[in-house]
Symmetry: C4
Subunit: 288 residues, 4 copies
């Protein structure tokens, strides 16, 4: 007999926090290291936003998963371990936050392995992975399987967990989506171009509530992605708080860490297997 991945809940919510700090900006060019305001804007994430968010999660007793680039864990020793000590999960979010689609296969592998080495050296247990910028290649899931992780959280082929068969074994995919990412709602910088519109937390709260309610109808995985340098701001943390209160009040939403959902999914024999290969493209039909 097989347990269902959702354990009977109308929807399962995985709160995920991408603790990117300076990495997504440096990935646009190391010259940005000289932009003091921009660097301080990014450092706000681990320095101010993260403790505030951890406090909120404690207050509401909600477990979460923190995706941390290896570079960030290295620059701020103790950060990853202190998150894990509070009962949350720390997961692999590349070393440098350069998007895999911009790397050679060798570079992607090296970046993947380097992050694992950082976490191993810090004694932080890693069960899953999320590609930088959600720009996975067709090799990414194979790296996840090959290194013995349970799950990936970078693809968008469903809104429920599914199985990806790689040459190196199967992986649970906990799919993400741009509409459940605070980046598209809040990110703004004059340079590099990371976004151009700063939305109100009220709009974001409404967007998340609407998606949660839809997901409760269709029994989905509400896989929310939040960045401490963005949603750590006071008014935005308020919106996050109100969203969490709303979800908790529904009574039918289960909050879990990604690794717990992945384990439940692996034990569910009814999980769909989605094909994992590039479309075959005719060179005459589509331009280079």
């Amino acid at each position: 007999m097989s347990e269902s991945w959702h354990g009977g809940a109308a929807a399962v919510a995985t709160l995920t926090f991408d603790v990117d700090a300076e990495t997504p900006i440096l990935a646009h060019g190391r010259g940005y290291a000289g932009h003091a305001t921009t660097m301080s804007h990014q450092a706000y994430g681990p320095d101010v936003g993260l403790p505030r968010i951890l406090g909120l999660l404690d207050e509401l007793a909600v477990p979460a998963t923190f995706f941390v680039p290896g570079w960030v864990a290295e620059q701020r020793p103790g950060l990853a371990a202190s998150i894990a000590e509070r009962g949350h999960e720390v997961a692999h979010h590349s070393y440098s936050h350069r998007p895999p689609t911009s790397l050679t296969p060798e570079e992607e592998r090296a970046d993947f392995v380097r992050a694992l080495e950082v976490f191993a050296a810090q004694g932080v247990e890693i069960s899953g992975h999320r590609a930088a910028l959600w720009e996975a290649t067709w090799r990414t899931a194979g790296l996840v399987a090959e290194h013995g992780l349970l799950y990936d959280s970078s693809l968008m082929g469903d809104d429920r967990p599914y199985i990806v068969e790689t040459g190196a074994g199967r992986v649970v995919e906990l799919p993400v989506h741009w509409s459940l990412d605070d980046w598209e709602q809040y990110a703004y910088l004059p340079a590099p171009n990371v976004g151009a519109v700063i939305e109100s937390p009220a709009k974001v709260l409404e967007l998340w509530r609407t998606e949660l309610d839809g997901m409760r109808r269709y029994r989905c995985l509400f896989n929310l992605c939040v960045h401490p340098f963005l949603s750590g701001r006071p008014g935005r943390v308020e919106a996050l708080r109100r969203f969490l209160e709303y979800a908790l009040e529904r009574g039918d939403v289960r909050f879990a860490r990604c690794r717990d959902v992945a384990r439940a999914a692996l034990a569910d024999s009814g999980l769909p297997v989605r094909p994992h290969r590039p479309p075959v493209v005719d060179e005459e039909t589509y331009p280079a």
Copy 2:
């Protein structure tokens, strides 16, 4: 005596779903086939969004029209036929989803014909056409007439059906508009650039309701364009559901497939004929 195209309704609603899958992305360059997350984001349309939308239409007993690129029908045999079997219309949406304005006349014709061949081979009856990206050339409507289709749905010269005279015969135009397309409201990708702002379903619902109410005053064609990879998401399907409930509750809105509206329009002798030729442009006035 002539029947009016609207049959006495305050407004006629054609729900149209553009089942684009990977095509609009590959049209930006075949290299995107290597972007696994982006490809999964597009595959979500036929794999997850489409069945969910078909279920909603069954539930509300509303007929619809599905514009399918030939490439998509070819890659997913059975998809087009299964839509038609549920009582909906399948229509021509190019082969490759490359915009006609980017093609030579020969390329546009070849792409047009190739899609017809795919549908013929699958036994799917085609009555109408919609240009990829709504970027028709002045030749497009002629191709529609030449191949014996009843209607085109790519132009914006009115908000009621009208007649286009082409060298190859007359065609009914069922006009579209950017404001009744979910793409401009929801589409986001880091690359290629398909849009940069993710709006709330609540805003989109309000936009559609406002336009429907205006159209009920002016007796128009509410020709809604929805993409399963976008509006198939749970919260957005909820907005679509609420919109359909709102329209049904008005009591004066008629839902129909495009081919049915086109037939009614052809039987209406009062339909306007809109000129269909490029403006004559003075080379000294306007730059190249």
Copy 3:
């Protein structure tokens, strides 16, 4: 003794409609003449939006001013005269809608004169001018004065009428602003880039009401700019209708044609004179 320009109203509203048709697109390159959908999107303005708007103005008995490029008047003989016959004002909106800042002085003058010739040949009386794209040069107001027009409506140096002294005499400026233009709220095309976000009419209605209420406090000129190809759509005309009803219900807003406001302003000896000359810029301070 001098009459005040506002005649005692809390705010004066000039409804202005820029009947641009195809011109702003052709100004991006004459190749767009081959884009059938885009051309039909623009033709919708004079063909569908304009009659609908004229009907609304009749219904509410509100006078307005229509800024028409000479090219549009030439291509659609009778259009300008038919607007004037309904009691509205027709005004000069360049010949080609190329922005003056992109032209040489000779080109700007030739374009300016050519439009006047079109209107003269059609027997349409012209009292004022608005620069294409609101991109006036420091020569533009001089051309207005030199050709005996009363007013210009292209600058943004105030939110009340003011006097501009040019080498060729004084001109009344009826200032405009981007926030009172429907273009930034509604315009979208895949190419050329004319805008990327399609807002809800409810947002636009709120924006206009808020500005009107602010202007009623400060006794300003509410100089609204609407494009028939954009705001002629059913849901947007509803928003315009509701805005006009709101303004009429205030009881303290005076609606007038631009030429009537300009005449009242010229008779008001208290009107401010704003300096009209380019800033002196140090070449070492600012880059080329």
Copy 4:
């Protein structure tokens, strides 16, 4: 014993007005001096928006800080002094408004000093500085310390005042943030690209209220940045008025000039010292 920087208030609000006039546009290229409409759009700030805002502050008896580029103070003699005479603070906002990150160290220093000389010549006392475009370099805070100013207001490393140690001494940082800047909400020009979406004042009011309420929970510095050429418009001044009324009605928000907050912060021995140095970046990890 040490006083706390907030004096017991739930949040401290510094209203700051960046009186940029033409400078941010000229920083894109001096050719824009020839764009008459754009220059008038910028001149509206000091000519119309500023007096209106000063009137509102008088009415509500709220003190504020005005950051003025040296070039603006030079071009409009008397402007800076007249602000100071009304009890507000005038502060250093560069000479030319070119972003420091685009300048050589020598250029940044020269621009910094030149502004100080302008204010000294006008007898205007300067206590603090804000970098143009909030694009400080790692040298900027050192210039502030070296020239004996109390504070900088250009970084984003916290949402409460903090200490920055520079080679030339310590400086109080009064941090800013893009979400408390009216530029991202309102700025629009066809060229140069300064922003593309014009939001409703109702949205902006909601954004500011939400952030203020969040900051009242976490005892932060609400450091609002407003531009007279943007928020001086009638409807936007209404939103500012309503925001100020809302904040005053809370009863627990203290309004202060930046220099007063900086002095209080210097007297607070509990203020955090945030590291102020560029991240060390591996050349192999991040691209040039």
